[in-house]
């Protein structure tokens, strides 16, 4: 049951990305191009998503479990540190180079775009690199 809801959430999320134009890298770059002719559409995508999302998150604040009786896993981290800033900066740079962030990358993969698959494989390699670096750091700390 849980996994059916997870599948449905992913599906609606992906359809939302396609409808919004967010799965089209050319359109994303049009939004990120403040120095050229600017396409503000994606600001409205964020606005629409946050408008709906904030209702759900406000409602969830009064709850301890989900409708399926599962625990609510809400982020607890609150520190604004070098990792957050540096990581977000690297992500922003990568996003600006191709116009693809993780969700649209997976949608492009599913659409059968070979170039989308190239991006996703590289992204997974980047995530794997993070895991390797993290493990090395934690090993160094315990030594």
């Amino acid at each position: 049951m849980n996994n059916i809801f997870a599948l449905l959430s992913g599906l609606i999320f992906g359809i939302g990305l396609i409808v919004a134009g967010m799965a089209n890298p050319a359109k994303v770059l049009g939004f990120l191009d403040l120095g050229g002719l600017w396409d503000p559409s994606l600001a409205l995508v964020m606005g629409g998503a946050i408008a709906v999302g904030s209702v759900a998150f406000t409602f969830a604040r009064k709850k301890t479990t989900s409708f399926l009786g599962l625990p609510l896993h809400l982020p607890t981290a609150s520190q604004i540190d070098r990792r957050l800033i540096g990581g977000s900066l690297l992500f922003g740079a990568g996003w600006g180079l191709a116009g693809i962030c993780p969700g649209p990358g997976l949608v492009l993969l599913g659409s059968g775009e070979v170039q989308g698959a190239v991006f996703v494989v590289a992204m997974l390699a980047g995530m794997a690199l993070f895991e390797v670096l993290e493990r090395r750091t934690s090993l160094a700390k315990t030594d």
Binding site: G10, P25, L34, S41, F57, F91, G94, G105, G110, V120
Partner: protein, 146 residues
């Protein structure tokens, strides 16, 4: 700077955004999870028992979205302009960056701002600034071939 009125699509942007919000709301209220794509994906590389099925289910939905969409209506143009080499560099940066920054456009941008998390608001401002700056450099400062 001028507005690109020809490509501005306010209605589909709002509608698609609302669908993204509904998906994030469903995932939170039924599954008890944050719809943060980079976190869901990254967790697969740190496998824990009982923690994989929901990740695969959500990601499968996301990957199947264009397949299902096509059954009902023609797919809009999905135009990748970056070269293969550029896509590899971009993918690596997005992969490493979203894991160090603990989130991407969905986790920080949509869910984090929805719950007014200062950390996510800062992260979103930083990756947006990074995106704007990068496009400014590649399109207006060091234009390839010029």
């Amino acid at each position: 700077m001028g507005i690109d009125w020809n490509h501005f699509t306010p209605l589909s942007a709002l509608l698609g955004g609302a669908l993204i919000g509904i998906a994030a709301a469903m995932f939170l209220l039924w599954n008890g999870r944050i719809a943060g794509i980079s976190g869901i994906l990254g967790g697969l590389l740190r496998p824990k028992t009982g923690d994989l099925a929901w990740r695969f289910a959500f990601l499968a939905g996301l990957i199947l979205a264009p397949v299902i969409y096509r059954l009902f209506t023609p797919m809009p143009a999905l135009q990748i302009t970056a070269s293969t080499g550029m896509l590899i560099v971009a993918g690596l940066l997005v992969g490493v960056g979203t894991r160090y920054g603990a989130g991407c456009t969905s986790g920080h941008g949509v869910c984090g701002i929805s719950r007014l998390s200062p950390r996510s608001i800062v992260a979103t401002l930083v990756f947006m600034a990074g995106g704007f700056a990068t496009v400014f450099v590649t399109r207006h400062l060091f234009v390839p071939g010029v």
